[in-house]
Amino acid sequence: MITFWFSIVVLAWVLFFVLEGFDFGVGLLGPLVGRDDHERGAVVRTIGPFWDGNEVWLVAAIGVTFAAFPAWYAALLAGLYLPMAVLLLLLAVRGVALEFRGKGDGARYRRRADLALAASSLGIVLLWGALLAVFANGLALDAAGSVTGSGLARSLSPVLTAEAGLGALAALFAAALLGATFLSLRTSGPVRRRARTLARWLGTGGAVALVVIGIGTASRLALAAALLSFAAGLLARHGREALAFTATAAAVAGAVISVFTAHGSVILRSTLDPAWSLTLTEAAATPSTLRLLTGAGVVILPGVLAYQAFSYWIFRRRVSSERVPS
């Protein structure tokens, strides 16, 4: 039961990172692939109907983490207090920038919204990358399972390490590739062309970097990611846009799964003493709560997946970014 719920929790996080990952990527690439107001409008329209539904996967992921593993939820959020606060603020700016962009008036207003969207998306992606590195590495949990320290450094220092920096860069690369392959799949015209070129370069360049890292750290994961990244670049080059997006999404999903399952039955490692680490069984809710969640999840989640798929089907048409001569 605990393993089953752990896999549901991981599934929710994977769906969040893949789905919201591409809309983060689209957000941060906006000024790069959209050269004017009209093109940037087309960029935003590709995610307009979806981003909110995608973000609910974060609500679901954090909600099921809380319900199924309360001690894990408590340790992560309390130990990473300030990075989480910054993340929430950036998400607030981003959501509002996206939703308000098309409803205000004037080019200056929209330029500001585009800037806010790109900057907040960039910040969120970097921060999530750093946070995922911390999830994998662990926190300075003491015997009582809390992180102590003084001042701002208590919760800020975990995201200011070299590993966290590497995680941030990896996330930036992944989100940009997801965004570029998604945009090339969902638009037509100049935005599609630029996104495709970008996907090609990102895929190939990323593959080279990942191979270097993979050989340097003897990580099979990095090599697997390099392969998928190379495949995405190659597929983008040959106009197989859907497959290029799928390959990138698979790479992101694999990376997220490996972060969450990095230490087997330990879900949050203590960097101070392995004995103080938080295990799955310690963190889990009682069987009665897990049974309730199972009932609710089995009934509700397939429905959610079905109507979200329906929504993607309804808005499947490409968004055109061409200017019609007047």
Binding site: V56, F66, A74, A85, K103, G104, A285, A296, Y307
Partner: protein, 453 residues
């Protein structure tokens, strides 16, 4: 202020702010659904225009509600991890199921509705906004169940080994009698908030399109009906609260001694209040227990009783805050209903409202927003010192290790970003309200250039 007070202040700030937008989303979703159904049945164009207008207000309001609601979902772990850890078994499922069951519905179907005008058949399109409205009600019910657990813990047992709470029945958790009383009261308050917003905008824009008259009267009816329902449901809620949290109602009246046939004061002054007060005889007994000669327990007796029951300590909430927030909630809310009633009376049978009324009506949304806020301030502060009444205190719930600097930094961040959001939201609503209600009639007026063959 120490770290505990700062964390409490932050929770209060982000929660109150979130709750400016929630009732608006709930009532705007229901109104948009009602207007679209009215359009489908009557085919009168102005219903369609009003549906689209209310939909735009809903979208921008919902967006702020979403991003500030996400903060709520994280807050319990960030600031209150001890509470999350020990009561997560009971409290967590409400948040998880609300997210999976209701929030997905709202977010996905709102997007389908807003972007799907020309992609979905008409009836299916109307069904999507009805789904959103149902989703908001489900959300509210489940989240209020979580809050009701804090007011009146039910459906749990304490594990003697770990000290953690264990959920015994989710149905009992949802059907907490505080929730059954608080849900209708809160929904009535939400109707007032959205009704007043529509009334204000419609009165302001009355000159630009005749359809705004329909919207103004609809908004006024919602405000008035919501007001009447808050009174009825509030009366019932008060009796339930007297039963489960007698200290809260004693604090609301600043009633120190247990009194038979207790009066209700309209106004009081003094150090810890009533040294001088203007009273209505027997009213408190009627409000609390439904009978003029009923006995209402006083603060002093309850404090003594709690010391015997829970050990030494103060179990008295902040009396002036409880006293005034309770009165202001009622007073401000009833004022909004009265203004709405007066507007309806003056505009009956097609007559125009007097100028001095329409000049001030655009400010009316402030009244229900204030009433809702006072209501929550009363509910939450008069629960103190408990985080979950009778089983755990607020001081026990805070995250161990959290530092003052961290909370100060995050509080500052929330204050700045939320402040900017409020300004942007207000200006956008004003901008959307200034747009012509009906779309330009001829294709040549459309902003997009016509395709050239």
């Amino acid at each position: 202020m120490d770290v505990l007070d700062l964390t409490r202040l932050q929770f209060a700030v982000v929660t109150i702010y979130h709750y400016f937008f929630v009732p608006l989303s709930i009532s705007l979703a229901a109104t948009a659904a009602g207007l679209e159904i009215a359009w489908l049945r009557t085919r009168r164009e102005h219903y369609l225009h009003l549906t689209k207008f209310v939909g735009k207000l809903l979208i921008v309001t919902f967006a702020v509600g979403v991003v500030t609601g996400l903060v709520q979902e994280f807050q319990f772990g960030m600031g209150w991890s001890a509470f999350a850890k020990f009561y997560g078994d009971v409290f967590g499922p409400t948040l998880a199921i609300e997210g999976m069951l209701a929030f997905f519905l709202e977010a996905t179907f709102l997007a389908l509705w807003y972007f799907g005008w020309d992609r979905l058949p008409r009836r299916l399109h109307a069904a999507t906004i009805v789904t959103v409205a149902v989703g908001t009600l489900l959300s509210a019910f489940i989240i209020l169940a979580a809050n009701s657990f804090m007011q009146n813990p039910v459906a749990y047992e304490l594990d003697p080994a770990t000290g953690r709470a264990r959920l015994t029945s989710f149905t009992d958790l949802l059907l907490n009698k505080v929730n059954l009383a608080a849900f209708p009261h809160t929904m009535a308050g939400a109707a007032m908030a959205g009704g007043a917003l529509l009334l204000a905008i419609a009165v302001w824009r009355l000159g630009s399109a005749p359809a705004y008259r329909v919207l103004a009267r609809l908004g006024a009816w919602l405000t008035l009906a919501g007001g009447a329902l808050t009174a009825l449901t509030g009366d019932h809620l008060g009796k339930v609260i007297t039963e489960v949290q007698p200290m809260k109602m004693a604090a609301a009246e600043a009633l120190y001694a247990t009194t038979t046939g207790a009066p209700f004061s309209i106004f009081a002054t003094g150090k810890p209040l009533p040294e001088f007060s203007v009273e209505i005889p027997w009213l408190l007994s009627v409000l609390a227990k439904g009978s003029p000669d009923a006995t209402v327990q006083g603060i002093n007796d309850l404090q003594a009783q709690y010391v015997a029951q829970f050990g030494p300590g103060s179990y008295v909430p902040m009396i002036p805050v409880a006293f005034w927030s309770f009165r202001l909630m009622i007073g401000v809310g009833m004022a909004a209903a009265a203004v709405a009633a007066y507007y309806l009376w003056r505009t009956r049978k097609g007559s125009a409202a007097p100028r001095r009324l329409t000049r001030w009506l655009p400010l009316i949304p402030l009244l229900p927003a204030a009433a809702n806020t006072f209501g929550w301030i009363f509910t939450e502060t008069a629960r103190q010192p408990w985080i979950a009444f009778g089983i755990s205190t607020v001081a026990d719930g805070i995250s161990p290790g959290l530092t003052r600097a961290e909370v100060l930094a995050s509080l500052l961040g929330f204050a700045v970003v939320y402040g900017v959001l409020a300004v942007v939201w207000f200006r956008l609503v004003r901008h959307l309200s200034r747009q012509p209600l009906a779309p330009p009639a001829t294709p040549a007026d459309r902003p997009e250039p016509a395709p050239v063959y």
